[in-house]
């Protein structure tokens, strides 16, 4: 497994005592810990560094932690505790938002594992579809410029999108399978395959968004 449980501690600013890096409250004085040294999103939420997950469990964990340190409950506390509650809640919300979405979660994990998932060039696996789509789009633009009825243009666009949408659905399925495999094996090669799929998927999403904008313009 790649999950790195570091032995690092954080220090309670209230009593000076040490606390595990993933703790939210000081084990000695029970005060909320200021958000200094902290774990990654997985560690912060207290869930394993996995890509497949039970959404209900993540929701439950999010609600439990919100109840522990939401600023509403620190209104009468000291300024330091209020700050700690605001910072911890912000971090919790950011963590939840990232991990809730499977693609953002995969991107986040790839970053933790040192694999960058941002690229702008057309991924090699998509060249054929993208080339065909671009040709189709040129024709549709010409059609629209010639004053063809809106419905006709929209229908052509929908047809043009079909192959790339099929490809996207296939990617979603691949992502699921690879995620499960990584969780089971922790195999680095699986992660690299996953990274390529994420890149392609993001490329497709951007492409479809572009078409969507063109359609609605």
């Amino acid at each position: 497994m790649s999950s790195t449980t570091s032995p690092t501690l954080q220090v309670c600013r209230e009593c000076g005592g040490g606390a595990p890096v993933d703790a939210h409250f000081c084990p000695q004085c029970t005060k909320i810990l200021s958000l200094g040294r902290h774990g990654d999103y997985f560690a912060f939420l207290g869930i394993p560094r996995h890509l497949t997950f039970d959404a209900a469990e993540l929701d439950q964990r999010f609600r439990d932690l919100s109840r522990q340190f939401h600023p509403d409950y620190f209104y009468n506390a000291t300024p330091a505790e209020r700050r700690a509650s605001l910072d911890r809640s912000s971090y919790l919300n950011d963590a939840y938002r990232t991990l809730k979405n499977p693609v953002m979660r995969a991107e986040y994990l790839l970053r933790l594992e040192g694999l960058n998932a941002t690229a702008s060039a057309t991924p090699p696996g998509l060249l054929e579809e993208v080339f065909a789509l671009n040709e189709e789009l040129d024709e549709i633009r010409a059609l629209r410029a010639s004053g063809a009825p809106r419905d006709e243009v929209a229908a052509r666009l929908a047809t043009a999108r079909e192959p790339i949408e099929r490809k996207r659905d296939q990617h979603e399925a691949d992502l699921k399978a690879l995620s499960a495999k990584w969780d089971a094996t922790g195999d680095r090669q699986v992660l690299e395959a996953l990274r390529d799929r994420v890149l392609e998927r993001n490329y497709i999403t951007n492409l479809l968004d572009g078409i969507e904008r063109e359609l609605s313009a």
């Binding site: 939401h70 509403d72 409950y73 209104y75 919300n93 950011d94």
Partner: protein, 596 residues
């Protein structure tokens, strides 16, 4: 103990509520009326009328009477000038970033007018608590609601209004979320709720998941310039009898009539419900787009919504109910009075904040994406809309030329790609970047949206760990100094608050003495001075009085503050003398104090 209340500061009506034995209740006047019309009138002698009385004056002294001021909160004249014909009062302030409302020979900002309404609610609550036999009947803290779709400037304007009215605004919460809180009280809900809130001037849709007492907003959308007022304006346009207050009153009456009847008359002319519905259909349709967007953002189909809750007076219109039922495929709830449910929820939230009661928790979202201007006038988004708040986002900046020590940052709110299409929130100047070759500094700017939905910004240069100072220029709205000044000005209108003004002055005095003392204590030569000229224990005594004064500073007790201020003045008399002599001596010998 002073009291805390929940306030619904509405476009048309405002209400105040409080929690008694765990149950929220609207505070009513002697006749049982809970609504205070959000209308303010100032007669030629300067007397201020608020509520029903001001509303009556709409027919006799319209040009000195302001209503629907919520529409102007956080807006510039350029945003709303086009609506001026619909209002009897003067609208100005072009080029200042803040709408000015003219009543007679005086002009007011929207937060100031709103503060009159808030003050009226405060007085109503205080009178109520006094009548209950409470020894301390003061109301000094409140939760105030705003439309969920209010942007940062509009929220800040609302908070400013609270401050001007002498209220400590504990929290700004969203109206639909407040309503869901009031609904959630009766039964233990679990499920997905859609709150459709069509008020006098604003429209909101919020979709929430409620589970284990946690009210988690999944998405929100709306239009802060769409409501019952627009229906009135449409009817007035349709009638063609002008925009006088008599016409407005007749039109509103007809609108109400048509919620119960199939036809009525305006100004002697017959109008059927069918005609009315055809007329207002475009307005009702305009609410459906945001509903669909909110559903899409929550990743839900209409059929997945378990319950639909209606809020706001305009949801009494049958066409609105029909359209909402059609969209979500179920009959909406309306057990609670749609006028009162928001104030009840605000009171519940106020109670949670003050008592720390953990039975319920509201987790709201930011309605609009937050971004910054990048090259070519394009917006780069940093915190996406519908992010649960509090939320943070950060962005790295660097310099473009060698030894550049400042960077300009333009912050915007909105969903569009181009800067020009979004709402400008503020321009920041980041100063104090250590001089380095271009591109080398790495300034991390952190944006934080707090639980009120209001933004704050901090920045740090990562190579040198230097904190940067940030100068905020809000694009719309008032500076802190302006709000303070308005707070002082507003007392001219309310003699009862003379005491509050004295309290503020006492605090200001105390703060300046603390400031001067701390400055002396921090003097680089202080250790030497203490050794040479101060008595043993003198410094400790001064420090303990400073600490004590700081403790009492936020209390409401003016006399205690003044007592400790005097104590500090007395205790530092000798120190001040010593410091003064040193400066004089240094001046005579021509030496800098620090060289001595």
């Amino acid at each position: 103990m002073s009291h805390v209340v929940g306030i619904d500061l509405g476009t048309t009506n405002s209400l105040v509520a409080y929690v008694k034995d765990g149950k929220p209740e609207v505070i009513r006047d002697a006749s049982g009326d809970g609504l205070v019309p959000s209308v303010v009138s100032i007669d030629a002698s300067g007397t201020v009328f608020v509520g029903r009385e001001a509303q009556r004056r709409l027919l006799t002294d319209a040009s000195r009477t302001a209503y629907s001021v919520k529409r102007f909160m956080g807006k510039a004249y350029e945003d709303v000038g086009g609506e001026a014909k619909h209002f009897p009062f003067a609208i100005g302030g072009a080029g200042t970033g803040v709408v000015r409302i003219g009543l007679g020979d005086k002009t007011f900002t929207a937060p100031e007018i709103s503060a009159f309404v808030l003050r009226e609610l405060k007085h109503r609550a205080e009178a109520f608590f006094a009548a209950q036999g409470e020894v301390d009947n003061e109301v000094d803290r409140a939760v105030i609601t705003v439309p969920a779709y209010f942007n940062d400037a509009q929220r800040t304007a609302t908070r400013d209004a609270g401050r001007i009215a002498g209220l400590d605004v504990l929290r700004i919460i969203n109206e639909p979320t407040a309503a869901s809180l009031a609904y959630g009280l009766d039964k233990r809900h679990t499920g997905i709720i859609a709150v459709y809130d069509l008020g006098g001037g604003t429209f909101d849709i919020s979709i929430l998941r409620v589970e284990d007492g946690v009210f988690q907003v999944l998405s929100t959308n709306g239009d802060t310039h769409l409501g019952g007022d627009d229906i009135d304006h449409l009817l007035m346009d349709h009638l063609g009898s002008g925009y006088g207050q008599d016409v407005r009153k007749a039109v509103i009456q007809a609108k109400w009539d048509l919620s119960d009847r199939d036809e009525t008359t305006i100004d002697g002319r017959r109008i059927t419900r069918a005609e009315f519905e055809t007329l207002i259909m475009p307005i009702v349709e305009r609410t459906l787009g945001p509903c669909r967007q909110a559903l899409a953002d929550a990743g839900l189909q209409p059929s997945q919504i378990d319950e639909v809750v209606l809020v706001g007076g305009s949801t009494r219109i049958p066409l609105v109910r029909r359209k909402v039922a059609e969209l979500f495929g179920k009959t909406p709830h309306s057990e609670l009075n749609p006028d009162e449910v928001v104030a009840l929820g605000a009171a519940v939230q106020a109670d949670i904040l003050v008592t720390g009661n953990r039975e319920m928790l509201l987790l709201d979202v930011t309605p609009l994406s937050l971004g910054i201007e990048t090259m070519g006038g394009v917006v780069s988004k940093i915190i996406l809309r519908n992010s649960t708040i509090p939320a943070t986002g950060s962005e790295m900046f660097t310099t473009g030329v060698d030894n550049q020590t400042a960077v300009d940052i333009h912050v915007l709110q909105g969903e569009r790609e181009l800067v020009a299409d979004n709402r400008s929130l503020a321009r920041f100047k980041l100063r104090g970047i250590p001089p380095m070759p271009a591109g080398l500094p790495r300034v991390q700017v952190q944006f934080q949206i707090d639980a009120n939905g209001i933004l704050s910004v901090t920045a740090r240069e990562l190579r040198t760990e230097a904190e940067q100072t940030i100068e905020v220029k809000p694009s719309y709205g008032l500076t802190d100094e302006q709000v303070e000044q308005m707070l002082l000005d507003s007392f001219e209108h309310a003699e009862a608050d003379f005491e509050a003004r004295l309290l503020i002055e006492a605090r200001n005095d105390a703060e300046s003495v603390i400031h001067a003392t701390e400055k002396s204590l921090r003097d680089p030569d202080f250790a030497a001075i203490e050794q040479e000229a101060l008595a043993p224990g003198e410094r400790q005594k001064i420090e303990s009085i400073v600490a004590a004064l700081k403790m009492v500073l936020n209390a409401k007790d003016r006399e205690t503050i003044q007592k400790w201020t005097k104590a500090l003045n007395d205790a530092t008399l000798h120190l001040a003398e010593v410091m003064m002599n040193r400066s004089v001596k240094a001046a005579l010998t021509g030496k800098n104090v620090n060289d001595a």
